[in-house]
Amino acid sequence: MRRIGVFICHCGSNIAATVDCAKVAEAARGFPGVVYSADYKYMCSEPGQEFIKAAIAQEDLNAIVVASCTPRMHELTFRKTLANGGLNPYLFEMANLREQCSWVHTDKEKATVKAIDLVKMAAAKANKNEELTSSTMPVHKKALVIGAGIAGMQAALDIADAGHQVVLVEREPTIGGKMPMLDKTFPTMDCSACISTPKMVEVAQHPNIELLAYAEVTEVKGFIGSFTVQIRQKAKYVDHDKCTGCGLCETKCPSKVPNEYDLGLGQRACIYKPFAQAVPNKPVIDPLHCRKLVDNKCGLCAKVCPTGAVNYQDAERLFTDTFGAIVMATGYDLYPWEEIYGEYGYGRFPDVITGLQFERMVNASGPTGGKLKRPSDGQEPKSVVFIKCVGSREPAKAKGYCSRACCMYTAKHAHQVLDKIPDAAVYVFYMDVRAAGKAYDEFYEATLKDGAVYLRGRVSKIYQEGSKLIVKGEDSLLGRPVQVTADLVVLATAMIPSQGSRELAQTVGFLPDLDGWYQEAHPKLRPVETPTAGVFLAGACQGPKDIPDTVAQAGAAAAKVCGLLSKSQLETNPMTARSNPAICSGCGLCVAVCPYKAIQLISLADRDRYGKRINRTVADVNHGLCQGCGACTVTCRSGAIDLQGFKNNQILEEVDALWR
C-alpha cells in the first residue's frame, strides 16, 4: 500500500493568488492513499525540498505528489529530491497548478475546485506508480558543429580547446560566415576581418577540428550521445590536396558572374574563392556557370593549373560519422525586401542598397576598395539616407520582431559616411534607438555629434527623380512630413533565419518557432539547448543577435557540449515503451507510427498451442531510440505495448479519480 505525501506549492503568488493552497492541501488528506499533505511558498527552493525529505522520513512516505508548475520546469528537481530522500525517483507525480490552472483562470473559488481535482488525479496515479530504473548508454566523444560563421567557429574552437574532437561543417566554399564581410564592428570600430580571419585560420589549423567546407548535413539518426550523421561533400572540381591556392586559374577564367560575397556589387570568376582570405584558401568551380561543366567548352583553368588540381569529373561524396552532441550555428540571412517593398521600388533603383551591401562597399577589401560610390553611376554620394526597421517590427508586412543589431550598425554606417565624406549630409529614419549594450548608447551619441540627423519616423515612399532619389517620411517628433533628395539610400533590413534552416531542423529532429528561429528549450534557464537532448544552439540561428552576444552564446553552447562529452556514459530515460511479446500479434502498426524509428519487427522462436515449434513476428523496442512519446501505445490493437510511467492502468486510474 502506498503512503502518499502531497505538497502544494504557492509559487510565490503565481498559484496562491488564484488558488487557495491551504484548502487544496486539506482536501488532499481525504484522497485514497494520502497520509500527509502540506502547502508551502516555494516547494522547489532548498527549504522546500528539505521539507519533502523530512516528511518522507518522518511519515514513512513511499510516494510523493507535488502540485506546482509544469513538469518541464521542475519534474527533474523533485525526482532528485525523492532520490535524496531515499525513494525511487519515479514514485513521484506532479500536478500542474500554474500553467494549467492559476495562470489561465481568474475566479479563485472555481480555480481552487479545479486544483483539488488535478491533485486528486495525480494522487490516484501515484497509487499506481512503479519503481523504474535507468540503464546507461555510451557517449561518442565527438561533436558536430553545423555552420562555420563566427558562432560555429567559436563553439568549435572552445570544444576543441577542451580536448574534444569536433567536425565543423560549412555549406559555403569558405568558412567565416557574415563577419568577414563586414568592415568595422561597433562600438569599438575594430576591423572585422582582423578579428575574424585569424579565427578562421585557427579553426583550420586546430588539431582537434576537422573542417568540412562546401558540405552539408543530409541525414541525422540516433540520439544524445550517439547521433549518426550523413554528410554530403559537394563537388569542388578542384583537388584541394594538389591545389596550392596560387590563384592563376581565377585570373585566367574568362567567365565572370556577380559575386555572392559582394552581394552583387562585384564580380568573380567561375573558378573562385569567395574572397582573398577565404579558408580553405583554395578555389571551387561554380557548376551552374562554368562553361566547361555547362557545355563542355573552355577548360582553360585545367590547362593553366601548374599542379593539375582541376578535376571536371569530380562528384559529390556522402559519408557518415557518429557524434555525441550537435551544435546548430546556421546564422541568419536578410529579408528579401525587394519582394515586398513596392513603395521603395522593389529593388528597381540601383542606389537603394542594404546595410550588408554598404558593408561590402565600405570594406577596404570590398568591390570598391572601400570607397563609397553610387552603384548607378559610381559618383560619391553627398546625401545619404538610412532607413531602419525595414521588414522588422512590421507584422503586417514582414516580421514582428526587432532585429537587434540594426540600430547599432546603422549608427556605425552613419559615422562611416561622415568620416569618409565630411561634407556629406546623413539622415537616419528610425523608430526607436535601441542601444542597450555596453558602450552602445555612447556610440550612438557620438554619431549624433558627428552630424547625423536622426528623424523619428518610417519612410513611406522612395522614388526617382532624374538621378536623385526622393525619400518621403514624417518627422513624427515635429509632426510634419519631410522629404530628402538623396544620392544613396541604405536599408537596415530584417534578419531572418538562414535559407534552408527549417529543413535542416527537421533533418536534425526539432521544430523551429513560427518565424523559423531555432527554439531554445527554456528561454531563461536553458537558452542554448533545444528540446531535443544533445542538440545545442549558438548564435543568430536562435534569434537576431550582434557579434558579442553570438560569441558569448557560442561559448555557452560549447560549455554544455563539453559537459556532455566529459561523461563516458549517460543514464537513459526509463520511461520508454515495452512490448509484451506474449500478446503482440506482430501487425507492425507501431513500427509505422514511431517517429524515432525505435521499433522493429523481430522473429521470436515459440511454440504453438499444440507444442509445435514456430517463429512468431513481434515488435521490439530499442530503448536507446525510444523517446517515450506514446504513439505506439495508442496504436497497438492488442494492448501489447505499454509506456513505462504512463501505463494504461495508470492513466485510467487518473481518469476514474475525477468521477469518484
Binding site: E343, Y346, Y463, E465, G466
Partner: protein, 293 residues
C-alpha cells in the same frame, strides 16, 4: 463573354468618350455588354463619407438588378463605382445579417453572388492578351506611355484583388500588347485627389501636378487611365496646374480603351478624342501618321 455593364454617372456625363471607347473595344473583342436597366449612382465618396448603410445600399440596388437578370459578372469601368460595388459585395458576403438588412433597405434580394470586375480587369485579365493581340492592326509603336491606375482600382488589395498595390501591371501588359511602350514610373498608384479637387482645389491640384511631373520626368508621351475621374483631373486640369505651378505640361491623357480602339484601327472620330482637353493630335500624327486623328 457576356457582362452586365454598369457605366456609372461619369460615363453619362463628363466621361462620355470613355463609354464610347469601351463599347468599341467590346465589339471588336466579342464581349457583350448589357447595361444594367435603370441603374442609379453608386453614392461615390459622398455616400461613404456620410453613412455606412447608404454607401452599401446604393450599389447594392444595381447589383441586385443585375442578379435578378441572371448576370454572373458585372463590368464596372469607373474606379470609384468599382470600389463601391466591390466593398458592398464583400460586406454582404461577410455578414448574413447585413445581407438581410441591405435587401430590406433596397426592397430587393441581393445575394452578392455575382463577380464584380473593373473594366480594366475584364479586358486585361479575363479576355486573354493573345486574343487581343490578334485584333491589333495599328500597333502604337514607340508610344512611351505611363499607365496610371490611381487608388481605387488597386486599394485595398483584399477588396480589389489587384495584382499589386504599389506596382500593378495589368494595364501595362495590355498597353504592351497593343504595341505601346509602358514606362516604369513611380506615381502609378498615387492619388489624384478625386472629387476633393472641387471643394479643396489647392490641395487636389498639387497631387495632380506631382503625378504629371513624375510621368514627364520619365519621358512619358502620354498617360493612360482606367477611371473617368482620374482622366478628368489629369486632362481637364493641366491648364490650371500650369497656371498654378508655372509649368508647361501638355501631356495627352487617354482612357486605356481609347488607345486599344486606336490600335484596332478605329479613327479618332469613331470615339471622342476631340473631347479631350489636351490635344493628342500632334502625338498621333507622329505616332501613326495621323491615321488616328
Amino acid at each position: 463573354m457576356k457582362y452586365a455593364y454598369y457605366p456609372g454617372c461619369s460615363l453619362d456625363a463628363t466621361g462620355i468618350e470613355y463609354d464610347i471607347a469601351n463599347k468599341l473595344v467590346a465589339r471588336t473583342l466579342g464581349i457583350e455588354l448589357v447595361e444594367i436597366p435603370d441603374w442609379n449612382c453608386c453614392g461615390a465618396t459622398s455616400a461613404h463619407t456620410t453613412n455606412h448603410l447608404l454607401a452599401l445600399a446604393l450599389p447594392a440596388r444595381n447589383l441586385a438588378i443585375a442578379e435578378a437578370h441572371g448576370f454572373e459578372q458585372v463590368a464596372v469601368p469607373c474606379a470609384a463605382c468599382f470600389a463601391r460595388c466591390k466593398k458592398t459585395a464583400a460586406a454582404v458576403q461577410a455578414s448574413p445579417d447585413l445581407q438581410v438588412q441591405i435587401s430590406e433597405v433596397i426592397g430587393m434580394t441581393y445575394a452578392a453572388k455575382s463577380e464584380i470586375l473593373s473594366y480594366l480587369d475584364v479586358i486585361g485579365k479575363k479576355t486573354g492578351l493573345d486574343h487581343i493581340k490578334k485584333h491589333v492592326v495599328q500597333p502604337l509603336t514607340g508610344l512611351k506611355i505611363a499607365a496610371y491606375y490611381g487608388c481605387l482600382l488597386v486599394r485595398p488589395v483584399d477588396i480589389t484583388q489587384s495584382d499589386d498595390p504599389e506596382n500593378p501591371m495589368v494595364m501595362d501588359r495590355l498597353l504592351q500588347v497593343i504595341g505601346a511602350e509602358p514606362i516604369a514610373w513611380d506615381y502609378k498608384t498615387e492619388c489624384c485627389g478625386a472629387s476633393q479637387v472641387v471643394p479643396v482645389p489647392q490641395l487636389g491640384k498639387k497631387l495632380i501636378h506631382d503625378i504629371l511631373k513624375n510621368a514627364a520626368s520619365y519621358g512619358a508621351d502620354a498617360i493612360a487611365t482606367a477611371c473617368p475621374l482620374c482622366m478628368l483631373n489629369l486632362d481637364m486640369r493641366q491648364k490650371q496646374i500650369n497656371a498654378m505651378f508655372g509649368t508647361q505640361f501638355h501631356i495627352p491623357v487617354f482612357h486605356f480603351t481609347e488607345l486599344m480602339a486606336l490600335s484596332f484601327g478605329y479613327s479618332a472620330q469613331d470615339f471622342g478624342l476631340a473631347k479631350h482637353f489636351e490635344s493628342a493630335e500632334s502625338l498621333l500624327e507622329r505616332m501613326i501618321g495621323g491615321k488616328g486623328a
